[in-house]
């Protein structure tokens, strides 16, 4: 009898152990697709971290981070910060702080401390009518002290449309001194991502293409209020212009009205874009950003299929292969008998591939990055 009780107890313990073990084992077999991204500062310095030149500023979960010498530093709290943009002198940066129903432009020092609040887009009426608040996005400042941004200041009565347009204003001036360069279209998504060039501005204009779909086009406007002109075709569906530091090339994203995102470059002569070249077609690329020394392009793209966006680096050699070395010429000398030896072809150059810099982060792919030499 006692033996039976002991046996029953033993079997019960074994069953309990096996049951719990099976339960826990199955739990470990879950995919990792829902694992939350790590903060960039976790496990810094990263082993085998890839070192990019200078300091790159980028955003995750509402905080601005800098990446310098392979180390990430968190500059702001996770409080709605995004879209850092360095001033031309590199001494401070602009950034957006999103309050949920409004967003404002701030000037920050290079350590993330607030120096100035440049817009005040929260309505004085509070939350009674959220449409009285305003949005500012994609700030830029030029060396002449002009602040550029996307702003929804053109409100029409009785409209549902939020007219995002390109605006400029003197740096530090009140918003009443701002003027609209574009009209933001009509229920189209508007004009965003201004890049001041020369006396005008290049930006992404969203409008309805010939097939009735909303598409992005790079657009140029030389003076406030003028209609401007398209730099890319509707079918290319291009957006996110990024001007190279030497001012002669643009990188951009072209999606061809599909769920794809090619990294595209084109020359820029100050007036027109040259032919577009798709230099990356196998990733969902976002926010291409030129290195200050023109040694390559950093961008954001998923690190695993359909996963959060990671930081990637495309060396210049990947899209501008070095010119072939000159073929060896026959040695000068006396008369040569017989046929000239044919020069051996140069050894094939292995293709240069993009380098994944981070693996477990989740950078904000809608927030431009900015880079300091």
């Amino acid at each position: 009898m006692i033996q039976r009780v002991v046996l029953a107890l033993f079997l019960a313990v074994v069953m309990l152990f096996c049951g719990v073990s099976t339960y826990l084992y199955l739990g470990t077999k879950q995919s990792k697709i829902a694992a939350p991204p790590q903060k960039p500062t976790v496990s810094t310095p990263r082993p085998q971290a890839f070192v990019l030149p200078g300091t790159l500023y980028l955003t995750q979960s509402g905080a601005i981070y800098s990446l310098s010498s392979g180390r990430f530093h968190q500059l702001t709290a996770e409080a709605g910060w995004s879209e850092p943009a360095l001033a031309p002198n590199g001494q401070y940066m602009l950034a957006i702080k999103n309050g949920g129903y409004w967003s404002d432009v701030f000037a920050l020092d290079l350590f993330g401390n607030i120096a100035n609040q440049l817009t005040s887009n929260r309505s004085a009426t509070g939350m009674t009518d959220p449409s009285l608040d305003h949005w500012s996005f994609y700030p830029r400042v030029t060396s002449d002290g002009t602040l550029w941004m996307t702003y929804d200041g053109l409100k029409c009565d009785g409209c549902y449309d939020v007219q995002l347009a390109i605006w400029s204003m003197p740096y530090g001036a009140p918003i009443r001194q701002a003027r609209a360069w574009t009209d933001g279209g009509y229920y189209s998504g508007g004009d965003v991502q201004p890049i001041p060039v020369g006396g005008g501005v290049i930006y992404t204009k969203y409008s309805y293409g010939p097939d009735g779909k909303l598409v992005g086009q790079l657009w140029y406007t030389g003076r406030a209020g003028s209609y401007g002109r398209a730099l890319t075709d509707p079918g290319e569906d291009c957006r996110t212009p990024s001007l190279a530091p030497n001012g002669t090339e643009f990188a951009m994203i072209c999606t061809y009205e599909k769920q794809i995102s090619y990294l595209t470059v084109a020359s820029w002569d100050g007036s027109n874009l040259g032919p577009r070249t798709n230099i990356l077609t196998t990733q969902m690329v976002a926010q291409p950003t030129w290195a200050p020394d023109m040694s390559g392009i950093a961008y954001l793209a998923p690190g695993s299929p359909d996963g959060p966006f990671q930081l990637w680096w495309l060396p210049k050699a990947a899209y501008e292969p070095p010119p072939p070395s000159p073929l060896p010429s026959p040695t000068p000398g006396g008369p040569h008998n017989g046929p000239l030896p044919s020069p051996s072809p140069p050894p094939p150059v292995p293709p240069v591939k993009p380098i994944q810099v981070t693996t477990n982060n989740g950078f904000d792919a809608t927030s431009p990055m900015t880079w300091r030499s």
Binding site: G19, L26, Q30, N98, D161, D237, I253, Q259, P305, P308
Partner: protein, 304 residues
């Protein structure tokens, strides 16, 4: 064995509660709709083409739980042999003959008679046969996408809306909120994805515009779901419990999983929106008239 059973209890519970729903079709079940034959327990791959009606509803506290509108209706036809997928979004404001009687916006069919009425209405008006339906509630989509860890979408344009319903974040469901979804490639969580597919005030094409966005997110969900393992099912089931109903039996779901994984080119999915000339405004109550002379040949071509 016991541990394995316990582990899969949430999935089994969802399977019992949400799948294999028997459809009461109005008004004439035999003529309009035949429920799916009882699936065999074996996991035989599906080889024949089939059509599913996807239904999405605002099921917040503004509505009686049994009488919600189907604000999103998408017909999906899958042809396994050729790996063809066609998605046709039906405008929720389409003015049609309802299977429950009379005329009205097509989104009311579900409200009047549940999925059976919605299916019968689509079948009789579009002259199409529907094999199954999947209904998902407002929170269901959010929870599903969050349980998948978010989805990658190239949002085609900035989606800004000053009058977006605050029914998910606000206890008073009639409030509005501002939403701002910036354009371009990005990783959307459930709430952001819902804002992207639900907002319509900033789009000249209103409901038709958001239908295009709904199809983009559906394709992204399908892409992400390919990475799921069977061990993920309990977690997913717990997340979306109560926000999903379908006539598809659990064994048929098992047959569909390998089929879904074999479709690896999202650009091969045909997406159809019934904009002009298929529909035009001017119908009662701000609804849309259908140009059946254009719609029916289209449906006949892709949903034979």
């Amino acid at each position: 064995m016991a541990g394995g059973l316990a582990y899969f209890i949430p999935a089994a519970q969802l399977a019992i509660e949400a799948t294999g729903k028997v459809i009461q079709v109005t008004p004439s079940p035999s003529a309009l709709f035949s429920p799916s034959p009882t699936p065999t327990p074996t996991s035989v791959p599906i080889t024949g083409a089939f059509t599913v009606l996807l239904l999405g509803s605002d099921d917040d506290s503004k509505f009686n739980a049994d009488h919600v509108l189907s604000q999103s209706m998408i017909l999906v036809r899958v042809v396994p042999s050729t790996k063809e997928v066609t998605m046709l979004s039906i405008p929720r404001d389409l003015y049609v003959h309802l299977s429950t009687g009379g005329y009205g916006k097509i989104d009311g069919a579900y409200s009047y008679g549940g999925p059976g009425a919605a299916i019968a209405t689509v079948e009789q008006d579009f002259n199409v046969h529907i094999d199954d339906y999947i209904w998902v509630g407002l929170l269901g989509l959010i929870k599903l996408i969050d349980a998948l860890g978010g989805v990658d979408v190239v949002t085609s344009n900035p989606v800004f809306d000053d009058y977006y319903p605050a029914d998910v974040i606000d206890p008073w469901p009639y409030d509005y909120q501002r939403v701002a979804v910036l354009a371009g490639p990005q990783h959307l969580d459930g709430l952001q994805a819902m804002q992207y597919v639900r907002s319509r005030h900033g789009d000249l094409q209103s409901d038709l515009g958001r239908s295009q966005r709904q199809q983009q997110v559906l394709i992204a969900i399908r892409q992400k779901a390919k990475q799921l393992s069977p061990e993920d099912l309990p977690r997913i089931s717990q997340a979306i419990g109560g926000e999903l109903k379908t006539s598809i039996g659990i064994s048929k779901v098992a047959q569909m999983l390998p089929l879904a994984a074999s479709f690896d080119n999202p650009d091969a999915i045909r997406q159809i929106i019934l904009a002009s000339p298929y529909t035009h405004g001017g119908a009662p109550g701000g609804s849309l008239y259908a140009n059946w002379n254009a719609i029916l040949p289209l449906v006949q071509q892709y949903f034979p």
